[in-house]
Symmetry: C2
Subunit: 385 residues, 2 copies
């Protein structure tokens, strides 16, 4: 096992009907700004529940935080907060709203150009407004970690920052809030969580036995519940398992003390940037091909994955690895997610342009051993076509 | 899954050679009291490392915190801290030293008789000194939770308290610090952790899939590593896995959202109180018999345990349950821990006296459904004889 630090102070309040806990979780004297995304927060009644729980406090609202939240939108929230002297944020939504709230929380007290927060990857954050979240979409894990992805439309940048100062103070995880989600978002959330787990698991062995078992347990849970989660939206037990799995997939626990390989995310980001493909779908395109191309580097863990997650024990090693990768692809396809670039109408000739983007963004040494060069990425993209 | 809250702000610093991190983890201006137990902290060099890391700070030391830490000892630390105006505690040792430190941390600012903290089970704690730990013995999980067991020799009490104010600020988990432990303590630590996990897992199903998988993963890890942990003390990879497993066994995670059954601990406490048997050994005596007596109440989870933890899939259900309970007993015996009251020279006639103790302590409705009455405890003790 590798040396590590693990720290996660976010309070999780989990279960159907837990939104009213806001009345005690938000400080009584707080001047609150509620962040949300589109119209669904209003239509589903979640905002009404939030308003009821915060009755009697000074509460303002800021809607319109978009998927892949933008600096341009968020900076308007920063101005509003400074103008009105607000001091507590509440994100109501999924990963985009929560990520955006993290940036706003850090930007409000920042002295200087807030974009420096992103350029420093969070290193320059020395203070942040406190905030909580009401999660409505299980997927990104942002509700229990200290990272965020922010885009800047003007420059076309999409950057990541993290800081221990932007852990949510609390996150309310109410599985009943997920029953009205469109099936496409549920499928995307399952795929996103699955890939988060794999990226902290399928590297090389360091005798991190607990981390392996936990990762395998989360993957097995997703595989077990995915059909029911899609077919029966109001099965709250299943949605509860999905929600808790998605949170634990990226709260720092399963990645503590083991190598990680975020190449699938990095390559996937370029596909979203260039073609506007949903984030989770880009991961489902890249991962099977990446595992195939990296099969020697990941050999031991792929064999473990085949046996423990997919129960593949027949045939020789290469056959079992092949079968595990095929099962991974079939899992995504079973969610209704196409797994090949060609399925999205992308020409093979585009691969060079994607590689140029990777190069421009410095993504030339990816993976757990920094061995995924542009040439390896080319093979991955060709295999994904 | 049941509604739950999960909150755990302890920072874990994990790995060989991490004790020097104290120099940044302990605030520079802190006036520190280092708590420890017996002579081993000095002999092994751990105290010397701690002193080196804290060089330049005001540091005092308080040794002699005993196994099953006593109010009588701890109150002397409280007096010392108040007299010398100390403001940060550092526990160097195992669960007893850490538990004792939690009590001292809460007692120092307490207005009134500090024993009220125990009588209120922690409800009366409204402030506590900050403290960190350097763990030397993987077993109790106290390094990453907010509970403590404190004894009072004068009255014969052994009480539990918890408060979110006594989570350690940080815990240093250095597996190299465990290599000098006597084998008996290592075996006890493995058994203690195993039972902690079982008590949060073997109840009745509530579709807590992640919790089940995590509990099973921790149990499988203990089963895999126990022989090596005992046979090769300086195998740091194995000791690392043991240390992290023991911490995760009782940090609130696997018990969040699922029923729990702490009857084994409650009955075991009486055996320690009356006969002085090591805590972990009392658990190893009680658990197999409890599972046998409670086999109908725990039927579904016992079958899952048999299949997933012990890979028992042959024969009918009763046979598989029987085999899983036998495997549990054999696991403890394999650690060198005897699992029957008669092995410890206890007469069968003592059972009535143990039951009288349980009654006197109000332990008349134990278990996940409060269905372990004194009559059921009698059957458990008779089965354990």
């Amino acid at each position: 096992m590798q040396t590590f630090q693990f720290y996660n102070p976010t309070r999780i309040v989990f279960g159907p009907g837990t939104v009213p806990h806001l009345s005690t979780l938000v400080p009584a004297e707080a001047r609150v700004l509620v962040h949300f995304g589109g119209a669904s927060a209003e239509k589903t009644g979640t905002l009404a529940e939030v308003r009821a729980a915060l009755a009697g406090r000074h509460v303002e609202e800021f809607g319109g935080i978009e998927p892949n939240p933008s600096y341009e939108t968020l900076i308007r929230a920063v101005e509003l907060i400074r103008r009105d002297g607000l001091d507590f944020l509440l994100a109501v939504g999924g990963g985009s709203v929560i990520d955006g709230t993290k940036f706003v929380a850090a930007a409000v007290p920042y002295v200087g150009d807030p974009w420096e927060i992103m350029l420093s990857r969070g290193a320059k954050v020395s203070a942040a407004l406190p905030f909580g979240t009401v999660l409505t979409l299980p997927a990104t894990g942002s509700e229990m970690n200290d990272g965020a992805v922010i885009s800047r439309r003007e420059s076309g940048d999409k950057l990541v920052f993290s800081s221990p100062l932007v852990f949510p103070r609390f996150s309310i995880l109410d599985p009943a809030k997920t029953v009205t989600l469109p099936p496409r978002q549920v499928a995307n959330g399952i795929a996103d969580s699955f890939v988060h787990i794999v990226e902290q698991y399928l590297t090389y062995p360091v005798d991190g036995r607990v981390q392996d078992r936990f990762a395998e347990g989360l993957l097995q849970t997703l595989i077990e519940i995915a059909p029911q989660a899609l077919a029966v939206p109001d099965d709250l037990d299943t949605r509860a398992n999905l929600m808790w799995t998605a949170t634990l997939a990226l709260n720092g626990l399963i990645g503590a003390g083991v190598p990680q390989d975020w190449a699938t995310h990095m390559i996937g980001h370029e596909l979203t940037a260039r073609f506007g493909i949903d984030h989770a779908r880009t991961l489902s395109i890249v991962l099977p091909s990446l595992l195939s191309v990296q099969r020697e580097a990941k050999r031991e863990k792929l064999l473990r994955y085949a046996e423990r997650v997919w129960h593949l024990t027949e045939g020789d090693e290469d056959h079992r690895i092949e079968a595990a990768i095929a099962a991974t692809r079939a899992f995504f396809e079973g969610l209704g997610i196409k797994t090949r670039l060609s399925d999205y109408g992308i020409e093979r000739g585009e691969i060079e342009a994607i590689l140029a983007q990777l190069k421009a963004h410095g993504m030339t040494k990816l993976g757990e051993r920094r061995a995924i060069t542009l040439e390896v990425s080319r093979a991955i993209l060709e295999g994904a076509w």
